[in-house]
Symmetry: D2
Subunit: 111 residues, 4 copies
């Protein structure tokens, strides 16, 4: 996870230089994540389902979407770093659970 | 980003085996992300600010938090993969923008 | 606002009987609202845009949607009551602002 | 529910004058609600639990909070009106269910 480690190191420096760790308790970071996720949702709220892929590639929309994705990712990494959680391990564990919960044969083509 | 690449590859296989790409347009994935972020927020909603760190280490709560973090991360990677966006690059670009927007001297200790 | 007043009175009794006001600071209630909104979004996340109206009338989905709408409304009223804000007045003020921000002639048919 | 009926009537006129019903399918309105809830959460995300009441009464913050509360309420009413759901009845039904799920004796003082 070299690149994630790098960006976590950069985030730590960014936070330390501003003395913001005092605001970054896990409750606040969960709220940050939810508000950033809300902004990402806003990018797609007036787009029809079958136009959402195309919208994601229009330059102006794409720049805004990338900025919101970046915000969500940063909030998630800040939270994981604060509570000492390995994000990739958490995803792996959850994916394993999802494999068991939704067997491919039973769920093929069903939402 | 080797480990992220690995998990993205696993997610693609998971989705392909269930023929779920048809449900994974970017609008739906943004909604998935928002609903998973809502579940993560729920883990902290009755916890006081100064108890949120300790709560994150209680075993039962930590297992639920890790599961929600995993869900949020998976939703974010699915969205990035669908629209061809590099998550780490998006975080890096946003962090750069945040450095310019919040100069350390001016923002030290201010939320 | 007679009916809203009635339900606010019932909510106050519900909270008082459980001694839950101690958990209902505005920060926590905002988180409650966000998590309930996330559950409502989850009801529509795999539904195509042009199937969302029909889905809202399927009995099983409708019962779940009504339950989530109820949760969101309750969270919103709890927050308004806690901070002494008149919900209907807040909506009226915002609608007035939206009328000025989005003049009908300029915005007809544009999202 | 006279005042809610009034504002729903005003919202219908607002939407009709802009020909926006075409964008207001229930999926999109659920997304609108989630994004507005995210903006409300953002108002409290850097506030400590025991400062959240006071913050709600600071004039500048209060104006922003009222605007976000208004947005959330409008989104909720637009959704209810679109799918023909009685918001007050939905809250009442849910409150009844919560009374059964959380008996006062068993839940007094427990979050």
């Amino acid at each position: 996870m070299s690149d994630l480690d790098d960006i976590v190191a950069e985030l730590r420096r960014f936070v330390a230089e501003r003395d913001w760790a005092q605001f970054h308790d896990p409750k606040n970071l969960a709220m940050l994540l939810a508000s950033e996720a809300g902004e990402l949702v806003a990018e797609y709220r007036w787009v029809k389902s079958d136009e959402a892929d195309a919208r994601s590639h229009e330059p102006a929309a794409r720049a805004r979407i990338a900025a919101e994705v970046g915000d969500v990712g940063i909030a998630l990494l800040l939270l994981c770093d604060r509570i000492g959680l390995d994000l990739v391990a958490a995803m792996r564990t959850k994916l394993e659970a999802n494999r068991a919960k939704y067997p491919a044969e039973a769920w093929r083509g069903r939402a």
